[in-house]
């Protein structure tokens, strides 16, 4: 069953009916629904999406984040889900502020989300509450900073200048 606009709207309508408090808005792009939800309802909605007959989003494709620096709620956590039976995709978008930089984990719903959440934590510093093993995954354990945040410099933080035996820029 290829993705259609009606199919996408069906998911959006069902979600809006079931979770009127958590639904924030949606957009259908190339016949795929991108749904904004409040972060309190994330875990509940994910479980609902997985277990409701007719939806059955049993395959976690991706968990990631985007940094909109300057916005009040700075980060957007993105969950891409796929349904094996119905062959369609849904994208959930949750906003998180920098001060309260945490969102519920979905590791207990899809075990495959474990590494994806760890990577998001490693790159953005977003905590996934309830995650069983939230450690850095790409960077070393003693690394400081969150590399994919927009305020993380591309050129490093002058660590090279701290070592006088290394050739310096401009030598």
């Amino acid at each position: 069953m290829p993705a259609t606009h009606e199919g996408a709207m069906e998911i959006v309508d069902k979600l809006r009916e079931s979770f009127p408090d958590h639904y924030m808005g949606h957009k259908v792009f190339r016949d795929e629904p991108y749904i904004g939800i409040r972060k309190d309802g994330l875990r509940e909605i994910c479980r609902w999406l997985k277990e409701t007959p007719g939806l059955e989003f049993d395959y976690p494709v991706e968990v990631t984040a985007v940094d909109y620096m300057g916005d009040a709620e700075r980060f957007e956590v993105i969950h891409v889900l796929w349904s094996m039976r119905h062959r369609r995709r849904v994208i959930l978008k949750t906003r998180v502020s920098e001060a309260d930089c945490a969102v519920g984990t979905v590791t207990d719903i899809w075990r495959g989300a474990n590494f994806m959440e760890r990577e998001t934590y490693d790159m953005y510093g977003i905590t996934f509450t309830g995650h069983p093993d939230l450690r850095r995954i790409m960077m070393t354990d003693d690394f400081e900073g969150w590399p994919l945040r927009k305020d993380f410099p591309v050129e490093g933080r002058g660590w090279r200048e701290n070592y006088d035996f290394l050739p310096q820029v401009g030598d």
Binding site: E32, Y34, Y59, P60, D67, R87, R89, F115, M139, V154
Partner: protein, 410 residues
């Protein structure tokens, strides 16, 4: 006393007597990051009980180059060479996955012939990737011969790629809106020559492995994952289909010219290493069949879109006309702007679903580019799949994912 392997004489122990207390403890063992069978730099901390794996903790990131951060600095075209370096075994497929995502975001129409060419090179790179996998997996397990045979065939495909785009591994052949250049008759002749013998070659690999008792004992019922677990752990590609889950994005969301091609999706039954091997070898047959169909049916026409914002003008024109030269500089230095928006696009690559999540802020460089690399996701299931097996099977487990650390760490 006869040597029995016991630490005490079992016959001397009566029921009243207490057995001497044996101290048992778990053993921590470090494997890697430098290890000949890890296909890159991967460290696994193993918790062992004797030779049995209780827990395997992969430590990733030794090859982390920050591709996603670098991509935010460059234009959309400058990201294409970065994608080559993810899964450097089948770069063509990565290129395609990326340009498809950008095209999905922009809504670009790709000329007919370009789609056929893309499907052709993607299937060729699937063949080359699976051949590479077959050779190295057999090598890891101890069957060295297969390696030499598969690399002989892989060489032909790399020669074609070299002729086609000037590079053997880091192809950068795709462009947003088409491909970089057209295929020439030499490549087509070479491919027909290759196809004429390829089925016999696959049969040859089968004679080496399919019923080889050592191969079967090293792969049968090793690293078993059920269909439900495979789905929940987000496995994709042959690793998922080996468990019998019929999921292939070429069928589920047809792209390129897959809808017009006649092919089947091979499935396994048991979800063990042997079934994944079987699925990949059958995919070799399906892919070579697709290459044959494409060579027979590929239409003539332009290989890149006519949109002047996306394509570079012909070099002859650049030397002759001012406008073409301006267009050339504009396309090379500035690239093209993409309307504000975001998109997820997944593509069936040889290793699994390679997805790109692109967020555009309306400028010429991606605001956020997330690469969903199948090897990384598969590593998440390593612990689950290796528990309870012997330490020697661990090499089989990450071999069976067809893992490439360049893609895993990005």
């Amino acid at each position: 006393m006869q040597a029995t392997g016991y630490l005490w004489d079992p016959e001397s122990v009566t029921e009243d007597e207490e057995l001497p207390l044996l101290r048992t403890e778990k053993l921590m063992l470090n494997m890697g990051p430098q290890h000949p069978a890890t296909h890159g730099v991967l460290q696994v901390i193993l918790e062992l009980e004797g030779e049995k794996i209780l827990k395997a903790t992969p430590h990733l990131g030794y090859l982390h180059r920050g591709s996603e951060k670098i991509a935010e600095q460059g234009t959309y075209t400058q990201v294409i060479p970065l994608t080559d370096r993810l899964d450097y075994i089948c770069a063509m497929a990565n290129n395609w996955a990326y340009v498809r995502a950008v095209e999905k975001l922009m809504g670009v129409e790709v000329p007919e012939r370009a789609e056929w060419l893309r499907t052709l090179v993607a299937e060729l790179s699937r063949i080359s990737g699976h051949l590479f996998w077959l050779g190295t997996q057999a090598l890891d397990i101890g069957a060295m011969t297969v390696f030499f045979y598969t690399f002989r065939e892989r060489e032909v495909i790399l020669d074609v790629f070299e002729r086609l785009c000037g590079a053997r591994l880091t192809n950068s052949y795709m462009r947003v809106g088409g491909v970089e250049r057209d295929i020439d008759p030499w490549c087509i002749d070479k491919l027909r020559e290759f196809l004429a013998t390829f089925q016999a070659r696959i049969d040859e690999y089968d004679t080496l492995l399919k019923e080889n008792r050592i191969w079967i004992r090293r792969t049968r019922d090793v690293a078993v994952i059920t269909a439900e677990d495979a789905v929940e752990y987000s496995l994709s590609g042959p690793s998922l289909r080996g468990s019998g889950v019929n999921h292939d994005l070429r069928k589920a969301e047809p792209y390129g010219v897959y809808e017009q091609l006649d092919f089947e999706v091979p499935l396994g039954k048991r979800g063990d290493t042997y079934d994944r091997y079987y699925v990949r070898v059958r995919e070799l047959e399906q892919s070579s069949g697709m290459v044959r169909q494409i060579l027979d049916r590929m239409p003539e026409g332009p290989f890149i879109t006519e949109d002047p914002k996306l394509r570079r003008p012909d070099k002859v024109l650049v030397n002759a006309s001012m406008e073409a030269m301006i267009q050339h500089f504009k396309v090379v230095c500035h690239g093209f702007d993409v309307d504000k928006g975001e998109v997820y696009c997944g593509t069936e690559c040889p290793k699994g679903e390679l997805g790109y999540y692109i967020v555009s802020d309306g400028t010429g460089n991606p605001y956020r580019l997330k690469i969903r690399a199948p090897s990384f996701v598969h590593m998440g299931a390593l612990d689950h799949m290796s528990r309870g097996y012997m330490i020697a099977d661990l090499v089989t487990v990450f071999g069976t994912y067809d893992i490439v650390m360049g893609e895993c760490d990005r």
